[in-house]
Symmetry: C2
Subunit: 189 residues, 2 copies
């Protein structure tokens, strides 16, 4: 009986990798046990249950995505920051589709509040500082940016743009451009 050295952290990380390989909804306690060559029941010393695993992966992904975005927007402002945010966001989703799906998992409010969701909101608001928006416009804009980014990435990952021209990259650039123009136009003098 060799001890593999399981920990919630290792399981979470492996779960995230598994999600990218087979899809977040295919992430199962059994599959994870197989990956560590360990019996299924053994994982229950480290995880409360299968929901706990998914939540941990979600929080992990949120954190990782927030890090990436924070890195991308650091030292930028205005349209530059907006474009960097957008690119980092989309790139993460394309590199890690399973983790991205995990990041969209609905969390109960306390869990969400404790996680990196707050950082995401703060970063979006930081971007908007370059556009002189007052409330409630700023909140509307936060919601709009979140919608466009999530919506686009989600459609792209679902294969919605697969068999049609032009290249999704071009549409993405066009959209970012449009959002910039829109936000400048909405600025309160």
């Amino acid at each position: 009986m060799v001890r593999v050295g399981l920990t919630p952290e290792r399981l979470t990380r492996a779960g995230a990798e598994l999600a990218d390989e087979v899809g977040f909804d295919q992430v199962t306690v059994s599959a994870l046990a197989r990956r560590f060559d360990v019996k299924v029941a053994s994982l229950y010393s480290h995880l409360k249950n299968s929901g706990d695993l998914r939540t941990r992966i979600a929080l992990f992904a949120l954190e990782e995505l927030a890090d990436r975005v924070a890195d991308a927007v650091a030292g930028r402002a205005g349209k530059d920051a907006l474009a960097a945010f957008a690119e980092a966001y989309r790139d993460y989703a394309r590199e890690h589709p399973g983790r991205y799906a995990a990041a969209r998992l609905r969390l109960d409010p306390e869990t969400a509040a404790a996680g990196a969701g707050v950082r995401h909101a703060q970063m979006t608001r930081a971007i908007l500082r370059g556009y002189d928006l007052t409330e409630p416009d700023q909140t509307h804009a936060v919601r709009m940016l979140g919608s466009v980014f999530h919506g686009y990435v989600s459609l792209e990952l679902a294969g919605g743009f697969d068999h049609s021209a032009p290249d999704p990259q071009e549409s993405w650039a066009w959209i970012v451009d449009s959002l910039d123009a829109l936000l400048r136009h909405r600025a309160t003098p």
Copy 2:
């Protein structure tokens, strides 16, 4: 052995209702069998498998949503049509969250081509006729509208706007307004 009168259509409809009640991912062949007070295996005479059931619900929801949207935009143009499209779309998702989730199921290309997905694309392009966009701008705009609508509704259903002012309805109106301005601004003279 009383015959209940199962058909693929009745099962699909009941599955759609079940989805709205418990969530699309909780729609299971077993749950459906319980709902008809019938043994699970009996459903396999009417459905190929569980994926078949989900696909049928997805196609049903796509059709229903397309009908609603078509109804809403009929006889309207320009911003009026855009707003009507947006409202019909969001209302459907809020009234039928399970069906809406079903409509986002990834279908294989042939199935998708045979279903109402095509109508959705056509209607979006019809809306854009009021804005004088030439290609490739029109495609970019189609993708953007799809992203915003899906993204917003998806975030709203996930509870993303639950504990924050202002009212989601206001943000929605603001966004539709912004999109209209944006599209007018993008018009090619």
